[in-house]
């Protein structure tokens, strides 16, 4: 094979048509796992995922029926979560959790209810500034820095995917933060996401001789780049600048470390099938207008979720998020039997305009008849996507005989609970997968006051802290430091969510 074609990644057009995807995409996707993942380290690492929806839910028809106890399929029948019935024995519904720091401006901080819903949900930190950006890192960044492939100080960041547009007013398009005020834009273009995954091993699938030459060439180039870095580091500079350059250099080292990792197989044999299915459904467009538009929204969501599953299965990352954009916005659903006239946010308020609140009809705030059913259809569509993701993860069997889903915990979370009221109590949460046996399964657990899911006894920062511990990272507290205004925040973990063998 000529050197020219070995450095080329899959062309956009071939990706789009799904033609070259079979020929070129497959070997790449099958070869994502670093060698080390199969050898010296533990056989099946724990993974953490986030499935994030916006604008709240139709809360009357979302939760399992009845109160705490075993989650039978019947309890999901007729709810928006009905599509999850095949996985009922892998699910855990924590009930009565509220956001903390709280909404409705009870604990202060900048941002309106939507801004808080977006900024607080994965960070449990206050929002600040005109950008309404969170004051600290989100759980995906906290965990990736501890558990992702790489070495300390140079671990891979989480894979943050989304469908829709992250741009717009304030921080309503962001859920992830690498640090204070550092909102991370999720990848909304599946081509870019795909490129990132295969970019790890662009040499795979070429001849041994060409492959060897590419490796030596890359090593030679990186040697020079390293020397150029050393030159620069001899300059006097501030600590901030030194840290900035060190972080850059560690990404170069990450490239270097992975140079030799070509031609390996995914640890999970099922991933090959997934890649095949994915390649044949590779209809996404890399065209920005299509990515930001709504016509391909449903297709892009599915492709992103497939990449989400593959990235965890192949140990490209152990932390991934998927976010349906965006708070106080979202698409107008015109697919899967829906043919709405108004976008998700308007329907969440049951109004024909975005800036309406409550029940009044002044200022052109006319009601949308039947909006509650439309919301239910939207919720159900999201849960079908969630089921699709769980199905993929459950199908991959790992070296320890368990599925990727069993070794993971995927958190369903939403910006709000009842969208119309902008409510921050009684949040819809699902934990799918046991994180390697850590969490109880097939249960509904009342964490607040069993009789009152709207109580403020069970803050979400403690749920995030429980999830951190579930991944093997010891922590007593998550989110805004005590005493900074999060009046209902708590440390510790929710023991009642743990499987019997893990309970104290």
């Amino acid at each position: 094979m000529s050197p020219r074609s070995t450095v080329r990644t899959v062309s956009r057009r071939r990706f789009l048509r799904g033609v070259g995807g079979v020929a070129l995409g497959l070997p790449f996707l099958e070869s994502l796992a670093p060698r080390s993942a199969r050898g010296s380290e533990q056989l099946a690492p724990k993974r953490f995922g986030v499935f994030f929806c916006c604008n709240g839910v139709n809360a009357a028809r979302w939760f399992p029926t009845g109160s705490a106890g075993e989650l039978t399929p019947a309890r999901l029948t007729g709810t928006a979560n009905e599509p999850l019935i095949p996985y009922a024995d892998k699910l855990l519904f924590p009930r009565g959790v509220h956001m903390s720091p709280r909404g409705y401006n009870r604990d202060g901080g900048q941002a309106d209810d939507h801004g808080k819903g977006m900024a607080h949900k994965l960070t449990a930190q206050f929002a600040e500034g005109e950008g309404w950006l969170a004051k600290g890192p989100s759980i995906d960044y906290v965990l990736a820095e501890r558990i992702n492939p790489g070495v300390d100080g140079a671990r891979r960041p989480p894979l943050n995917l989304m469908v829709g547009d992250y741009r717009g007013e304030h921080g309503l398009g962001y859920i992830s933060y690498s640090g204070r005020g550092r909102a991370v834009a999720a990848i909304n273009n599946p081509w870019h996401a795909y490129s990132e995954l295969i970019g790890a091993n662009p040499a795979a699938g070429t001849s041994t001789e060409a492959e060897d030459r590419i490796l030596r060439r890359r090593q030679s180039v990186i040697d020079i780049v390293n020397e150029q870095f050393e030159d620069l580091k001899r300059q006097r500079m501030s600590g901030d600048d030194r840290r900035k350059l060190e972080a850059h250099l560690s990404s170069v080292r990450d490239i270097e470390r992975r140079i030799g990792e070509t031609g390996l197989s995914c640890a999970s044999p099922g991933a090959g099938d997934a890649a095949r299915e994915y390649a044949s459904s590779g209809v996404a467009s890399a065209d920005e207008a299509r990515v930001l538009g709504e016509e391909a929204y449903a297709d892009i969501a599915d492709i992103q979720l497939d990449l989400f599953a593959l990235s965890l299965a192949c140990d490209y990352t152990r932390v991934a998020t998927m976010h349906f954009g965006r708070g106080a916005g979202g698409p107008t659903f015109k697919w899967s039997g829906m043919n709405h006239e108004y976008n998700h946010h308007k329907l969440s308020h049951g109004k024909v305009r975005d800036n309406c609140f409550g029940d009044g009809t002044a200022n052109g705030c006319a009601d949308v008849p039947g909006y509650a059913d439309m919301l239910f259809d939207i919720d159900r569509w999201h849960q079908e996507r969630f089921a699709r993701l769980l199905g993929k993860l459950a199908a991959y069997v790992e070296a320890d005989g368990r599925s990727v889903l069993d070794n993971s915990v995927i958190l369903y979370t939403n910006e709000l609970s009842d969208g119309k009221a902008h409510s921050y109590t009684n949040l819809p949460y699902i934990l799918a997968g046991s994180a390697g046996g850590y969490f109880a399964q097939g249960q509904v657990v009342a964490l607040g006051e069993p009789a009152n899911p709207f109580s403020e006894r069970a803050p979400h920062n403690r749920l995030l802290n429980t999830l951190v511990n579930a991944m093997g990272v010891e922590s007593d507290w998550f989110g805004a430091p005590e005493g900074t205004g999060g009046q209902t925040m708590q440390g510790g973990i929710y023991e009642s969510l743990l499987s019997p063998s893990f309970q104290g």
Binding site: V7, T9, N105, D112, G129, G150, H192, A200, D231, P481
Partner: protein, 558 residues
């Protein structure tokens, strides 16, 4: 160094604003200097690292923005259009312009830089046109190779290569045949060198170095000055004349720099940067939200937002061409329209379909940016005007007043019951915002917003709303004085002639140029830019030729 990225400059602008607005500043937004944050309890290990005291400090190593990366690759190699599109978007840190100096390379972007460098290097050697334009001698000759490495390296790093670097890259070049085994060893060498240089920090960062702060007072060397000017005005590497000026030490005093800046401002790419500034400072992005209800505004064309953007760009360009400044932006008696926009101005199209033309308002019926269809319809609801957002723009974006977000619950509170329902948008807005919790800020916001009530949600002029004459009069505290105005023309005159607005506009320019928020240390500089009034190009010239611009920020050394 100032440890708080706070708003002492803000103080210059905002204190005036606070006195004038009566807005309670205790809940001020926009500042990150909320003071030290209590640490978590010492006994509890926390998964959340401690909050840094400060978000952004002055840096000596400014990473190229994605746009700058792409422009620089294009100017260096003549290939690579769209190469930056797949780069991980930079984290948003709330800075209002896209020129932030606080850009990082994380584990995601690092590999993308490698992929991009490999791609453009391959494209470059495969494109006969690009390759032959950039490599003029026979690259298989060692002398030619060394010459090309020197020339290309000096442009890629924006300074001549050090002897050690030269050796390094020549050595890499000679390994081309071995490492690439292509048809042409010379091209293989070129490809390797391009790959390595484009991944080097000297390419990816603009370094603000001074040789010895104790001797040169922290003044940047000539090449760093050339780069800083070039990325400020061109968003790309220095052109040949600027490199030549740096090489011959003709960038050492303000006069020499000013000569270069004047020359650069006459180039088309400088115009693009001036437009980029205004697109951000005047929030052209808001045009995308324009959606007047066609049943109420049948004259409003399809894609009004897209047309409004073109019209605004043409208007700003015309103001720049006329050597105008902030005053002209706010008061020039003309606007641009195509066939579809013209009816909203009550004008019969003068030009064939698709052409743009200038409408002169000879009798002063409209003046300046705020009375053009774009601004008026972008700050409107679908069926009525939105005086709150029109006024908020004047207060926040033109006067830099610190207007906090509405207090909790404010937007959810229904207006008080009245015997006589409001007849106009102005009356309705007054009723809604007249409550004590709102009126402090809304006194300022509403006054500025109501001045434009003579223009409806599609930007058409009107005398009546619901058969009631519109009231566009009001009073506004500006430069510390309460001033009455009878309508929009008097309001924009007041704003355009105020020191407050000049300081605000200059502070936006300075932030845009420096890529950071301002601090107290910038105040004297800002004061010089605000007085006397400067044309837009003069303002750029003053910023770029100021001693502060070419002196690196004093930093703690470690």
């Amino acid at each position: 160094m100032p440890r708080r990225a706070s708003s002492s400059v803000g103080a210059l602008v905002l204190v005036v604003g606070s006195a004038a607005s009566g807005c309670d500043l205790s809940t001020s937004s926009g500042s990150y200097s909320s003071g030290p944050t209590p640490a978590p309890p010492p006994t509890a290990p926390s998964a959340t690292p401690p909050v840094p005291a400060e978000l952004v400090g002055p840096t000596r190593f400014v990473r190229l923005s994605h746009r700058q990366y792409e422009n620089t690759v294009r100017d260096l190699l003549g290939v690579g259009e769209g190469i930056s599109q797949g780069f991980a978007p930079d984290a948003s840190n709330g800075f209002r312009f896209d020129t932030s100096d606080d850009l990082r390379v994380d584990a995601r972007l690092g590999p993308q830089y490698r992929t991009a460098a490999e791609s453009v290097a391959a494209m470059f050697i495969e494109s006969e046109e690009a390759f032959e334009r950039a490599v003029e001698c026979d690259i298989s000759e060692p002398a030619c190779a060394a010459e090309w490495i020197d020339a290309f390296g000096a442009r890629a790093f924006r300074r001549p290569l050090e002897p050690l670097e030269q050796e390094r890259f020549v050595d890499l070049f000679t390994r081309g045949a071995e490492l690439l085994a292509g048809a042409d060893a010379g091209r293989d060498g070129v490809r390797l060198v391009v790959e390595a240089m484009l991944q080097s920090p000297q390419f990816l960062y603009r370094a603000e170095l001074s040789t010895d702060a104790s001797k040169d007072g922290g003044r940047l060397d000539a090449y760093a000055v050339a780069s800083k000017l070039s990325y400020f005005i061109y968003d790309s590497l220095p052109d040949a004349a600027l490199f030549a000026a740096a090489a011959s030490s003709r960038l050492t005093d303000s006069e020499q720099i000013a000569t270069q800046v004047r020359r650069m401002l006459s180039q088309p790419r400088a115009r693009q940067k001036l437009l980029d500034f205004h697109a951000q400072a005047l929030d052209f992005a808001r045009f995308a939200r324009i959606s007047p209800d066609p049943t109420v505004y049948p004259e409003a064309p399809d894609d009004l937002g897209g047309r409004a953007r073109v019209a605004a760009e043409r208007y700003v360009a015309a103001v720049i061409d006329a050597q105008g400044g902030l005053r002209e932006l706010l008061t020039a008696p003309y606007a641009y329209a195509d066939e579809a926009l013209a009816p909203l101005y009550g004008v019969t199209p003068e030009a064939p379909d698709g052409d743009w033309f200038r409408i002169d308002f000879a009798s002063g019926e409209r003046r300046g940016y705020l009375m053009q269809v774009g601004f008026l319809s972008a700050n409107a609801h679908a069926r009525k005007t939105d005086p709150i957002h029109r006024g908020l723009f004047v207060a926040r974006e033109l006067l830099c007043r610190n207007i906090p977000e509405p207090p909790p619950g404010a937007t959810e509170t229904p207006p008080p019951e009245t015997d006589q329902p409001p007849r106009t948008t102005r009356e309705e807005t007054e009723l809604l915002t007249g409550q004590p919790a709102c009126s402090g800020c809304h006194r300022v916001i509403n006054a500025a917003g109501f001045a434009f009530e003579g223009f409806d949600a599609a930007g058409r002029a009107r005398d009546l709303e619901n058969d009631v004459p519109v009231d566009t009069s009001g009073e506004l505290e500006i430069d510390g004085e309460l001033r009455a105005f009878s309508g929009p023309n008097e309001l924009v005159e007041l704003v355009a002639n105020s020191r407050e607005a000049r300081a605000c506009y200059a502070s936006h320019w300075l932030q845009f140029a420096l890529g950071r928020r301002l601090s107290g240390a910038d105040e004297p500089w800002l004061a010089r830019l605000a007085e006397p009034e400067l044309a837009i190009e003069e303002l750029v010239l003053h910023i770029a030729s100021a001693p502060e611009f070419v002196t690196r920020a004093p930093l703690e050394m470690q």
